[in-house]
């Protein structure tokens, strides 16, 4: 049987909620797919549109953004800024011919260790259905232009 496609996901997690949730998942020994690799930022508000495009350009099949629940941001409202940029990005990548499922924003609090498992596993499944991004020539060109 053929080797199943293993998507690569770059995950930007905020330091105070989602990164801690991932830690909790660890201490609770919750098992999930090994396809997502985390870049820690202090706040989801730090996540630059360029980071996401760069990740796609560098060969990521999906990008996950994790922040605090609305109203819970450690820096009061950074996550709202993240939400705005996420919406912008969704439009942007659609125009570039990249499926929206490849970019996901999730509010995951420090208490929601299992949510990390659910989200990452879901995303891996979705990406396995979509297949590798580099197969998508048009998107590649566009990415090269912007990133």
């Amino acid at each position: 049987m053929p080797e199943e496609f293993q998507p690569r996901i770059v995950a930007f997690f905020c330091n105070w909620c989602t990164y801690l949730a991932a830690d909790l998942a660890g201490t609770s020994r919750i098992k999930y797919a090994p396809n997502a690799e985390v870049v820690r930022v202090m706040c989801s508000g730090r996540i630059d549109v360029q980071f996401v495009l760069k990740a796609f350009a560098q060969g990521a099949d999906g990008v996950l953004i994790g922040g605090c629940h609305p109203g819970d941001c450690h820096y009061q409202e950074g996550n709202y800024k993240a939400l705005r940029r996420y919406r912008l990005l969704q439009r942007l990548i659609r125009q570039m011919g990249i499926e929206e499922e490849r970019l996901r924003l999730e509010w995951i609090s420090a208490a929601e260790g299992d949510r990390v498992r659910v989200v990452i596993n879901e995303m891996v499944e979705a990406l396995q259905r979509l297949g590798p991004l580099h197969k998508n020539g048009q998107a590649q060109e566009r990415l090269m232009e912007v990133a």
Binding site: E37, V38, A110
Partner: protein, 663 residues
Amino acid sequence: MPDRNPVRIGVYTCHCGTNIAATVDVKALAEFAAALPGVVVSREYKYMCSDPGQDLIRHDIRDHDLNRIVVASCSPHLHEHTFRTALKVGGLNPYYFHMVNIREQASWVHENKAQATRKAKDLVRAAVCRVALHEPLERGRVAIHPDVLVLGGGIAGIHAALTLANAGKHVYLVEKEPTIGGHMAKFDKTFPTLDCAACILTPKMSAVRSHPNITLLTYSEVTKVDGYVGNYKITVLRHPRYIDEDLCAGCLECLEACVYKQAKVPDEFNMGLGKRKPIYIPFPQAVPQVPVIDPETCIQFKSGKCKKTCIEACGERHAINLQAEATTQEIEVGTVILATGFRAFDAARAPGYGYGRYPNVYAALEVERMVNASGPTAGEVILRDGRRPQAVGIIHCVGSRDENTNRWCSRVCCMYSLKLAHLIKEHTGAEVFNFYIDIRTPGKGFEEFYQKLLTERVHFIRGRVAEVTDWVFDPSEDGKLVIRVEDTLAGFVRRIPVDMVVLATGLEPRADAPEVRRLFNISCASEGFFLERHPKLAPVNTFTDGVFLAGCCQGPKDIPDTVAQAGAAAAEALALIDAGYVETEPNTARVIEEICCGCKTCNSMCPYHAISFVGEIHKSRINEVLCKGCGTCVAACPSGAIRQNLFEDDQIYAEIEGILTHA
């Protein structure tokens, strides 16, 4: 400023015993790292966080003159500080360091060793690429305001406040209720020693009142929190008591004088079992000794037609002011201790047990008041109709260990149920049945107390009660409450008729916990209790510096544990205060003026108003003291003129590249 020497990186892979080594091939990882650009030394070791582990780093810095360090071990939230200190001691700027989390994010969450190792390699590669671009940074310092806010006047808050006050710090003790004392003030005896709660609590309460270093703000709530560790500005809302605390002498003649000759309002402190007047004092030893008027029930407030006999009685003192209104007060503190306590589970949420349906089904706190000599029944355990119960059933784990209500074990119910069993038997001589799933007595003298109860012939039936009903199956059950349960040890189902049922309700987070959490910017665990920074190593700290936890707001615990935790929280606060300052992380943002085009996009981004626009040079500027380092402005700057220490764009790009470069 970036240093010119060529990058010489040392990579250290930790086994963490077998925590990492079991699922990640540490040898392969270390060899992989050794081959990465700029890596001079790559080692793996059992415990990097141990002294020998840290020495390893220091010696290599010296012998191999390393100028960058990467440690692949656990979460930076656990040991980043440890290793940065190691660098410092080794004579290297602590920010030439990056940590890779291959435990929480690899070995503990993946099963396939090959995949876990592959991921660990990616992460290490990313760190190596990133650390090469690190620059030396210095931590800033912020002076700490020596005053402390303690929120909640239960035993936890009281103990913390006294500890701090005795250490010469000024404490603001804010309590929602008209008196301090919390739940403990309601108890009669405390387990397992059975010493009287009042006798050990009330002296501490009066100590609070008389202590020169404590400002007691009862009947008050925190409504706003500004600032950060060292310099908090707290807004406190003070509800009107209608009696001036400074003028009142606590003679309580106003209570006597009230036009209500008989108390007729259900009394909150006695769980509604007793009655009080519209003007009342929660209980005789209340602190402060100042009555409070309840506008809901006071005739003057309802109709405006009252003889105001209370005001007459007060006479020359003029302590009573029915026009009084809520006031707000601003206080400045450097540290905060949250001791907001718990809420008892509402027994009506366990419908099978008939609370609220059958009058003689009681919640534990009601019985606590009943057995209390100064309670509504003067210590008599009686049914609603005044009869003495001949048989009493105590049902454990009500609202606890139950997927339908609360999952957790509330920790104190077993012991307080045993205590109540003992007291009820003592007061009434009734047959007492305990219905339990497990008896949990992990504490000093707890198991001994259990043994004592067994020899007192209190019945212990292992089985979770299915229902409490008045259905009469057999004439012997007429007029009784019947408890139906499987006696799982005897191995058959039993029907046990009793006169009184006591529900050992569990502990749960207060309804206002989410608001408090948001005010102080801390996290809650999934069940809603406040989340400590580390379950073992930082049990009273939160993820917000300068905010500490004490007592049941962090999770169910008994009095000794609460007091111990309160002391610990006070000590943590003292440690900060006496240091005089806190070091701030250097991950602040700065504007590169040459690039800034003065578009002001960033100005509105900052929630801390750290960014200002300098008119004369037509550029924005960031005040590093105010900047908290979230980086939102950095991402927002259209011309890329803002940069953030430790989270520079090129550092993050390097990290992304590192992750995605296929090995």
